[in-house]
Amino acid sequence: MDNKDKLAEIKEKKKEWEEKVLLPAAKRFGIEKKPTEFHTPLDIADFDFVRDVGFPGQYPFTTATYPVSLVPSIERGAKPGGLRRAGTYSGYGTPEDTRDYYKQMAKLSWTGGPNLALDLPTQCGYDSDNEMVEGEIGKVGVAIDTLRDFEVIFEAFTGDQDVDRIATNITINAAANILVAMYIALAEKRGIPMAKLRCTPQNDILKEFVSRGTYIFPPRPSMRMFRDSVVFFTENLPGINITSIGGYHIREGGSTREQELAFSMAIGIAYLQEGVNAGVDIDAFTPKFTFNAFGGSMQFFKEIAFQRAARRMWAKILKERFGAKKKDSMRIRCPITAHVGCSSTTKQRALNNLSRSVVGAIAGVLSGGPPYAFPPYDEPLGLGWSLEARQLAEDATRIIMYETGMCDVIDPLAGSYYVESLTNEIEDAAWKEIEKVESMGGAVTAIENGYMQREVAKSAAERQARIERREELVVGVNCFTEEYELDVTTSKIIEHPYSEEKRYDAEKQQKANLAEVKRTRNNREVTRLLGELESAAKKEDKNLMPLFIDLAREYATLQEQCDVLRGVFGEWQLDTFV
């Protein structure tokens, strides 16, 4: 029998099974409207292994980005702190507080560069002495006003952990180039040329308009800043990642799986086009694109399919649309794959979040990545994770890595009728949505006109409505909440290294730090350079990176520079889109 005859036979047998076996059983259990699914070769009738799946680390990267699983060997992974990295998103209060935190963590054998969380004034381009941002200094991250603050933080990184030996992550978007310039100036003062730096600024400004919200300038001048990154980084900073694209934030903001995939790919396309328009060779800069994470949910198989679809789409976009030749241009470089997403965690009976994150970790390993049990169970309880919750999350990851054998195989669901058909479905839906965005003129236009923002808000509201109608169940939130359920609470037995007292003192301290910088720097030179920045900003084709470096050297503040740019570029109008 050839394939066509075989499919015809399956079709016939399936019909027979549905009528004689499935339906009576479904009726007996009262689920005839939505009987349990079963999938067959009919769901992927034109399946072509080489075209649709391929081998790990090869086009179209459906199975995995790399040919081997990224699990550290037991020798590396099992040593104390082997999985721990300063790379955990962190940063508190004043630069001094953050420096001391990293020093303390180094004693717990943390290694590697920091993953800097910045406070909101820094992310939105305001200085610590601005009255408007009182109460926000040093919250959700460390405050950065000038080069001085980088100098202080990086006192924790010297010797074999100096800035040419570590990779630093900075979660900064609107002001990414200004902070990278400060990092360059810091290295320069240590006698390290910028070409030796390894660093990843988040630098994914478009998703900030859709979700998360740390924009400063309108989308178009923001894209000009992105162009400056592509051009300057490609020429001068071979060790820097240009952007770390995140669909994660869009999903956490409430989008559906398909919207997230479509919007993040459309945003990626806009960035790629910006580089191409600036005359940079696609294969010269795309390998320096990273992805920090896509979103997740408790929908186990759908999330696995999502990851597979995302890898395949990105590969196709690079190869077919942008004509990339290099394999490195086509792969999604992303440290994590499927996970449950922070918005799946619940404040109610918070220890249950450990169970949830383990489900996510298993989805992670089955979708071609490491089994990160993320987030720690106390995520929804407040800012600052407890060390106990982190230990449990790390141990859950280790248990999956070293006890289960799950990491011995890549994409074990490849070829599954169900998962392959789900992968196709998600990809098809995302392409349709991308077409819609493209018909408006692309991601930038779909943000300027509020389309993406509105769609995400609508989806968030629809999900909440489903939860309230109990069409979607969340244990401990809208079901199993009766009085005889135990309210299991968490106990924090180890204090967080960054105490609340320091937190409250940080604002005053940082204002004093900034006042001292402003008193002792060469203010005449700062003023002159800010004037230069203004005229350069007015010339659309001018790359502002060299000026940002000059300004960093002279301890110009973040806000001084952003204010000049606000004057030229304008500020994003805060439409609400509800």
């Binding site: 004034p121 009182e134 926000e136 998360r212 919200g213 309880l381 309230e468 805060l574 609400t576 509800v578």
Partner: protein, 135 residues
């Protein structure tokens, strides 16, 4: 004279926090329950929020914050409303608020704090029960 006037709610995001999912979802949800909802959008100063509340003469001010700056912003909004004679406006808050901060905020005049996982129906019920009497 206007017996059937809808309950009017201002949902506001004070400060720089960009997490607006909760604020938007709540705006949609309360609207579905028949209330009139005004959403300010992100990055509102205390003065802007109070101005909007007074101009619109709302019954309820709902403040949403997930950045940890609630202890600064929430009491400031309450105080400025009181200074402007709007002590009868119901002020409620939501977001990621640590348990031990809830009594502090209530002490300062925030009537209730709603955390993640709260059903909008429950927030609606709370508002209907506690809102100033609508003539």
């Amino acid at each position: 004279m206007e017996k059937e006037r809808k309950i009017k709610v201002l949902i506001a995001k004070p400060g720089l926090d960009g997490h607006d999912r909760g604020a938007k979802v709540l705006s949609f949800g309360l609207r579905d329950q028949g209330m009139e909802v005004i959403y300010t959008g992100r990055r509102q100063s205390v003065q802007q929020i109070v101005n909007s509340a007074l101009q619109e003469d709302v019954d309820v001010v709902g403040l949403s914050i997930l950045s940890g700056a609630h202890l600064t912003f929430f009491p400031k909004v309450v105080d400025l409303l009181r200074e402007n004679g709007a002590e009868d406006m119901l002020v409620i808050g939501g977001g990621i608020i640590p348990e031990n901060h809830i009594p502090i905020l209530k002490e300062k005049g925030v009537t209730e704090i709603f955390g993640p996982g709260t059903m909008i129906k429950d927030i609606g019920d709370f508002i209907r029960k506690n809102v100033r009497k609508i003539a």
